[in-house]
């Protein structure tokens, strides 16, 4: 089975432009999350979507938006790009939006290889 797939893998944009990043979750997964990883830092949570509804939002400006489609794929949009938006954008998918409780199995989250965005 295919893992989490993201496109494009690399792209270069100019300040002020807009970008759309795409993510296809693992088949059967209904939750998609987006993370930004600036070089040399750990990923930071941007959004989580489950069943096409926003379930969580990190501390990012309104220039960042996302949506989830009926087939559970997702897009992340960033408007008015700044140099500081240059980063690796990671998509993650999971079965559910919540932990499975005390069973210990948890709700494993799988990451894609990311989209490298460079803003010049």
């Amino acid at each position: 089975d295919a893992g989490v797939t993201q496109s494009p893998t690399h792209l270069i944009k100019t300040r002020g432009q807009q970008v759309t990043l795409r993510c296809s979750p693992i088949s059967g997964h209904k939750s998609v999350s987006w993370y930004q990883q600036v070089l040399g830092q750990g990923p930071q949570f941007i959004f989580q979507y489950y069943e096409k509804e926003e379930r969580g939002r990190g501390n990012f400006p309104d220039r960042f938006s996302a949506r989830q489609f009926p087939n559970y794929s997702s897009e992340l949009n960033v408007n008015a790009l700044l140099l500081g938006d240059s980063a690796l954008y990671l998509c993650a998918s999971s079965l559910s939006d919540r932990d499975r409780g005390l069973s210990g199995s948890g709700n494993t989250i799988y990451f894609g290889e990311g989209s490298w965005l460079t803003v010049v």
């Binding site: 489950y50 993650a92 494993t108 894609g112």
Partner: protein, 114 residues
């Protein structure tokens, strides 16, 4: 609120020697804790997770971690390092209610010398 602190930004070991990557957490809730590994130009791979079952968690590739509530720690260990273990390692905490809101540490770069 929850957060993790990875106490070392860089750890260097010789091949065949033990690995210890340290992580302390802060959480208002009963946390779930994870370790992920990231090889250069690769996505994040789950090594192991703690979700309220056994406090000693065994993961892939010989790694394990012990949840110590009294010390608020979740250190990652491996008895014998391999060259292929060289990578960036991230400690992650989430609230038990929503594993998708993951809070990553800053990462520890592990170097393995021959």
């Amino acid at each position: 609120a929850q957060s993790v602190t990875q106490l070392d930004s860089h750890v260097s070991v010789s091949e065949g020697t033990p690995v210890l990557l340290r992580c302390n957490y802060s959480s208002s809730y009963s946390p779930s804790l994870f370790w992920y590994v990231q090889h250069p130009n690769k996505g994040l791979q789950l090594l192991l997770k703690y979700t309220s079952a056994a406090t000693l968690v065994k993961g892939i590739n010989g790694f394990e971690a012990e949840f110590k509530k009294s010390e608020t720690s979740f250190h990652l260990t491996k008895p014998s390092a391999h060259m292929s273990d060289a990578a960036e390692y991230f400690c992650v905490v989430t609230p038990r209610s929503n594993n998708n809101d993951m809070r990553f540490g800053a990462g520890t770069r592990l170097t393995v010398k021959p």
